[in-house]
């Protein structure tokens, strides 16, 4: 191919810059729209048990549920790896189940965040459990939840 032919097929300078800018804009706007629509479906909202009850979260929708593990509710199933427990925020409590190795500081009377979704029967199927790991590593939403061991009252200062 000769130099003249290249010049002929190459785009005019101004057009080239314009096309690049338009392409860039289309890509950016497209990405933003894509991201927004995906976020609408895929972002997992945080609920306390009372909020989850009030909002009537539909089964199958991925959410995060945060609260205290109700004393006496933590039961291990016969298989040794599935647990049942109730999470409460002091106003309502929600039955939950989880299969797996629980975080080391997951126990009754302490705060936890369960990630997962409700099943048809209204039981929260957790796929992952976050517990306070140590004083320096704590799920953000747990900061506002306090549990009083003597009165068994749970206080949330979140929202």
């Amino acid at each position: 191919m000769t130099a003249a032919a290249i010049q002929k097929t190459a785009l005019k300078g101004k057009h080239q810059r314009l096309i690049l800018i338009v392409l860039g804009l289309v890509a950016v706007i497209g990405a933003a729209l894509l991201a927004m629509s995906a976020l609408k479906d895929q972002a997992a909202y945080f609920f306390t048990p009372a909020e989850a009850r009030a909002a009537n979260v539909e089964p199958g929708r991925a959410i995060r549920l945060g609260g205290m593990v109700v004393p006496g509710s933590l039961k291990r199933q016969a298989d040794g790896v599935t647990i049942r427990f109730d999470l409460t925020d002091g106003k309502a409590s929600v039955p939950a189940s989880f299969s797996g190795i629980t975080p080391d500081l997951f126990k009754e009377n302490s705060g936890a965040i369960a990630e997962g979704s409700f099943d048809e029967a209204g039981i929260f199927r957790a796929t992952n459990i976050l517990a306070k790991h140590d004083e320096r590593y704590m799920p953000r939403e747990m900061e506002g939840i306090q549990y009083d061991a003597t009165t068994h009252k749970v206080e949330t200062t979140n929202q």
């Binding site: 690049l20 860039g24 890509a27 976020l39 895929q42 997992a44 080391d104």
Partner: protein, 648 residues
């Protein structure tokens, strides 16, 4: 005295940075040769002083000087040597000092070794580097003093977060920081070039080694960090789309786009404005990453302390530097001559598409990472996790892989679409063969993304080595080898990711010692659990004998550890690497009846992920050696003809 000396060295270095900025101003604005001559020693002294300051902090940690607040809150006299040493940067102040040290040493390197730039741009670059350093000195000295004393001294330290007590801590943060800060050099080059309006191929050839170094280190840092998280957390995953992981991924994406566009600028003198813009964006992403990690607005193992003033300070620095650079960009870019034009079917166009796709991925990661912070300001707490990122980024990555098949085969300036398509036929055939055979073997077990991932990996693996076909391999330049190996690494890594997500098998059981568990052809015999003790931890240590077929049993030892300072339980997983994958064991808790929880994974070809990452970094290294070697020869030639005179 050690702490005081360290602090004094920092103040002195900050003063020198201010001096360097003033000198640069005089040198560029007035063309003053004496001012320019002073810049090199000033930059060198600055680098030496921060290195001294950092060495002194390391000394304090090694000596467990509990009269220093930082040591008392983050170290412990009983800690093993390596964690005392690496613990220096396992906290906010220490890691910021590391950052500042790397930054001024990089500035020193630019002052000493940069030979490719014209003089004025070199001075302006050094000035820009001094200007950024100043902000970080201020941040360190005013908001994060690592040398603060406590009175009376603490009896002993509070210890280091046990999750960080791993050899990974010694390598992962310094590597990433070198990469982050390396991008500050690219930023300074861009600002320097804008100041002197010298955005051209020469500028691109000068900036290229610095971008490559930063990119190689980021690649190594991310790869190592991913493997560290994989075995340390015991969750079996290798990437969690955690905001902090994203904070390292975003600068990497920008740097990847940057050095591809730099290569267009260097070879064809096109994409001038775009390259400058990307340099700014890449460093902006480094700063966003630092802000996300260091401000404490995220909960993560990386967030050491929540301190709003620090977050505000970093945000102000980010706004100031990036805003300033963008204003300069806006003012000057109109006067930067437009580069060479190119054809829609050409190497240049392919690289533009590469840049667009990388920027789209960057944007998607950025939106997903910042979204929870935005909603939280409105009082709604959400988390954005793997479902979002995998669903939305997966397809764009696949598009990028498709481009990777055709792009490197296109000629510069102009290529013929038909002949180009003919060239990729073998790769497409292989990809189709992979698609069909995987679908036949796996059937409906495999999801669409992993299936296409394996397909793309097959196509890219073959296409990536095609630029070598028909060439004399001995005379093929080093950077071509680098490109081939890095692109091949992308295919290897992608194959590992797809294989792990499609074929990993997980088993969760509660069994008594003596039981044998079967997983994907492996016989795992659970022998016993015994208590063991380490230097600053105790653990329940399980012994499992694993074998496959008639192979000899291998012993594996997952542990449940309990660290004493601070009191924290952790999980130590155990891995057994075979040629075709990895067996991954985690010990859970003991149940009342003598059973133990065990979590087992068989992860086919999962190691390809990090192996591929290593290949990508190796490719970058070869390209760097090739470029620097050629640049050096060119510099020598120029010196001989007297076209270029070293700045003194």
């Amino acid at each position: 005295m050690i702490a005081e000396t360290g602090l004094a060295a920092l103040w002195l270095a900050a003063t020198l940075a201010a001096l360097q900025l003033i000198l640069a101003w005089i040198a560029v604005a007035r063309g003053d040769v004496r001012a320019a001559g002073l810049m090199r020693p000033v930059a060198m002294a600055q680098g030496a002083l921060t290195a001294l300051s950092f060495a002194l902090l390391v000394t304090l940690f090694l000596r467990s000087d509990m009269s220093v607040l930082l040591v008392a809150t983050n170290s412990h006299s009983m800690k093993p040597f390596i964690y005392k040493f690496a613990g220096t940067w396992g906290n906010h102040e220490g890691s910021m000092l590391l950052w500042v040290m790397v930054m001024s040493v990089a500035g020193m390197a630019v002052a000493m070794f940069e030979r490719g730039l014209d003089r004025a741009t070199h001075y302006a670059t050094l000035g820009a580097q001094a200007a950024i350093s100043l902000g970080f000195y201020a941040f360190l000295l005013l908001a994060s003093n690592p040398f603060a004393r406590i009175d009376p001294p603490a009896p002993d330290g509070q210890g280091l977060n046990p999750l960080l007590q791993d050899p990974g801590l010694a390598f992962h943060p310094p590597t990433l920081y070198l990469g982050y800060v390396g991008l500050s050099v690219a930023f300074s080059f861009a600002v320097g070039a804008l100041v002197t309006r010298q955005v051209n191929a020469r500028f691109a050839r000068a900036i290229r080694p610095w971008v490559l170094i930063a990119w190689i280190l980021l690649t190594i840092g991310i790869t190592a960090g991913s493997y560290w998280a994989y075995y340390e957390l015991g969750w079996g995953g290798w990437w969690f789309w955690d905001p902090v992981e994203n904070a390292s991924l975003m600068p990497w994406l920008a740097a990847t786009a940057l050095f591809h566009s730099v290569s267009v600028l260097a070879a064809r003198d096109a994409l001038r404005a775009w390259t400058i813009m990307l340099s700014v964006v890449a460093f902006a992403m480094s700063m966003v990453g630092t802000f996300l990690v260091r401000s404490g607005i995220l909960t993560s193992v990386h967030a050491f302390a929540v301190d709003p003033t620090r977050g505000g300070f970093l945000l102000a620095l980010l706004a100031f530097y990036i805003g300033g650079a963008l204003i300069l960009f806006g003012l000057r870019i109109g006067t930067v001559n437009e580069g060479t034009r190119f054809n829609p079917v050409s190497r240049e166009a392919m690289l533009v598409a590469n840049n667009l796709l990388l920027c789209v991925i960057l944007g998607l990661v950025l939106i997903g990472t910042l979204y929870p912070l935005l909603t939280e300001m409105m009082g709604v707490s959400v988390s954005v996790g793997p479902p979002y990122f995998n669903m939305i980024i997966g397809p764009v990555v696949l598009a990028l892989m498709a481009l990777l098949i055709i792009g490197p085969l296109a000629r510069w300036r102009h290529d013929d679409l038909k002949s180009l398509l003919r060239k990729i036929i073998p790769a497409l055939v292989l990809a189709a063969a992979v698609l069909i055979s995987v679908k036949l073997i796996a059937g409906s077990r495999i999801g669409i993304l992993p299936l296409l991932g394996l397909t793309a990996a097959g196509g890219v693996a073959l296409a990536s080595i095609m630029p070598l076909i028909g060439r004399n391999l001995r005379r093929t330049p080093m950077f071509t080898w680098g490109m081939v190996i890095a692109h091949f690494g992308c295919a290897v890594s992608m194959a590992g990711m797809a294989s792990d997500s499609a074929f990993a098998v997980e088993k969760l059981v509660a069994v008594r010692p003596g039981t044998t568990i079967e997983i994907s052809g492996w016989q795992v015999e659970f022998r016993r659990v015994v208590p063991v003790a380490g230097p600053n931890w105790t653990a329940m240590d399980a012994t499992l004998a694993v074998s496959r077929g008639n192979g000899k049993p291998v012993l594996m030892h997952p542990q449940a550890r309990f660290f004493s300072d601070p009191p924290t339980p952790t999980t130590e997983s155990a891995q057994l690497t075979a040629w075709n994958g990895q067996l991954y064991l985690v010990l859970g808790e003991e149940l009342g009846d003598g059973r133990w929880q065990l979590r087992l994974w068989w992860k086919p070809f999962v190691t390809f992920i990090w192996f591929g990452g290593g290949l990508i970094a190796l490719g970058g290294l070869l390209a760097l050696i090739g470029r620097v070697g050629r640049g050096w020869l060119r510099g020598r030639a120029r010196e001989r003809v007297g076209e270029w005179v070293a700045p003194t």
